[in-house]
């Protein structure tokens, strides 16, 4: 971490410095959340830190950015099956983060609907949960 940017390496060997939000969350820990990404054709991304004022990821969440074939971009994750879309990579990522928060609240709202939903809630909270 260097100031407000992070040098990012992806699995395809792309290297660049992208704007990031860096949040000090304790004396010895720093959480980093992606705010913007370039419009590359496809790339794995790692999302960390807070989603909003009340939700935070519990650990790194692997995402995949790709073109949708129509000039737009899609960001999705494999574990939870949530996606975001937008005319560029940054807006797709923003849409994804918003959708992930929506998804979590929907899972929370249904957590007592059935034993299966209760179990699903428990598993989803291994990835994200309310932050303090």
């Amino acid at each position: 971490v260097n100031g407000a940017s992070v040098r990012y390496h992806d699995a395809f060997g792309l290297r660049d410095t992208y704007p990031m939000s860096v949040e000090q969350s304790g004396e010895s820990s720093v959480s980093v959340g992606l705010d913007a990404v370039p419009d590359i054709h496809s790339a794995p991304l790692i999302l960390l830190g807070r989603l909003d004022d009340s939700l935070a990821l519990k650990g790194p969440l692997a995402l995949f950015l790709e073109e949708d074939g129509d000039g737009g971009f899609i960001v999705s994750d494999l574990p939870l099956g949530v996606y975001g879309e937008g005319p560029n990579a940054t807006s797709a990522l923003k849409d994804y983060k918003s959708a992930l928060a929506d998804f979590f609240y929907l899972v929370v709202d249904k957590r007592n609907a059935s034993p299966e939903d209760a179990e699903y809630f428990r598993l989803v909270t291994r990835y994200l949960d309310f932050s303090r």
Binding site: G69, I74, Y83, E85, F103, K110
Partner: protein
């Protein structure tokens, strides 16, 4: 078969009895299907007005616990509600790869 988000929404709500979810933000529209004995199925509606591209269709199909070919059949009416509900009883639930 090209599928527009509006057509997918129409089929999911009318034929498969998905209902709009009461999500807290107005950024997205979600549909949910709650059936006994299975985890609530939920899918986010695409913002796009254009036909759904293969990749996005695949992601949405996964939310619905089917594959893209099955989703196509749901929309063109060769898969009906009873068949889909029966499929859900045995379709694996993605628990985050765990």
């Amino acid at each position: 078969v090209p599928i527009k988000p509006s057509e997918l929404q129409r089929q999911l709500t009318h034929k498969f009895k998905f209902v709009p979810a009461k999500n807290r933000s107005s950024d997205h529209q979600w549909l949910e299907l709650q059936l006994p004995g299975i985890v609530t199925i939920r899918t986010k509606l695409s913002h796009s007005k254009a036909e759904l591209r293969a990749r996005l269709l695949g992601i949405i199909a996964r939310e619905l616990r089917v594959n893209s070919a099955y989703l196509n059949e749901m929309v063109v009416c060769t898969k009906g509600q009873d068949e889909y509900y029966e499929h859900l009883k045995t379709a694996p639930v993605s628990y985050g790869g765990m």
